[in-house]
């Protein structure tokens, strides 16, 4: 799923490790999320959105064409 995670993390000056520690996941999970390879659970998406004080829809962008294909 495409997202603005990397952009927001860099804007707030957080490292991948710091963000991982804040939301209670591994650094590898943050890397996968930033690459758009892994889709987070609702609770993780909520925690990440809370770190950047934004809504889930603003942080994670739904690729509607891909959803239609599935």
């Amino acid at each position: 799923m495409p997202n603005r995670l990397r952009e927001m993390r860099e804007r707030t000056g957080l490292t991948q490790e710091e963000l991982a520690a804040q939301v209670g996941v591994s650094r590898q999970t943050i890397i996968s999320l930033e690459k758009g390879k892994y889709n987070p659970s609702i609770s993780l998406a909520y925690s990440l959105a809370k770190v950047f004080s934004m809504s889930i829809e603003d942080l994670f962008l739904l690729d509607e064409r891909k959803v239609e294909d599935e």
Partner: protein
């Protein structure tokens, strides 16, 4: 059960298996005993490396058993069981029709099946770890 108790049980199991390996070597079954001892040493080494990595991550406040790890483990388990069942079914079918009648030690056969299943699981876990 907390992680310290789990670790303690893992190390006690390894000591027990090492004891069995030494007993087998002393009793004259040296090939099995040596193999088992090598397995114990490899398992102890990988357990120690893994534990250090997990402790380092936990010290930094990260969670090594996060949802991605569970998701990968689930996918790897599903794929490895599926491949294993289909392969065994094909081998049984072909072997029953065209294969020769052979006598096998059931414990060796179970050991081989265990190795194959474990190998499939580890391989598919690493595959999904690279993919996702």
């Amino acid at each position: 059960m907390n992680s310290k108790n789990t670790q303690c049980i893992k190390w006690l199991s390894l000591v027990l298996v090492a004891g069995i390996a030494i007993w087998q070597i002393v009793s004259g079954n040296s090939s099995f005993g040596t193999g088992l001892l090598v397995g114990v040493v490899v398992a102890a080494g990988s357990l120690e490396i893994r534990q250090r990595r997990i402790s380092d991550m936990q010290k930094k406040g990260m969670n090594p058993y996060d949802e991605r790890a569970w998701s990968l483990a689930g996918m790897a388990a599903y794929v490895s069981v599926r491949i294993f069942v289909i392969s065994i079914a094909v081998i049984v079918l072909i072997g029953s029709i065209w294969g020769p009648q052979v006598q096998v030690n059931p414990y060796n056969l179970l050991g081989l099946c265990l190795c194959a299943l474990l190998g499939l699981y580890v391989g598919s876990y690493y595959y999904y770890n690279r993919k996702f």
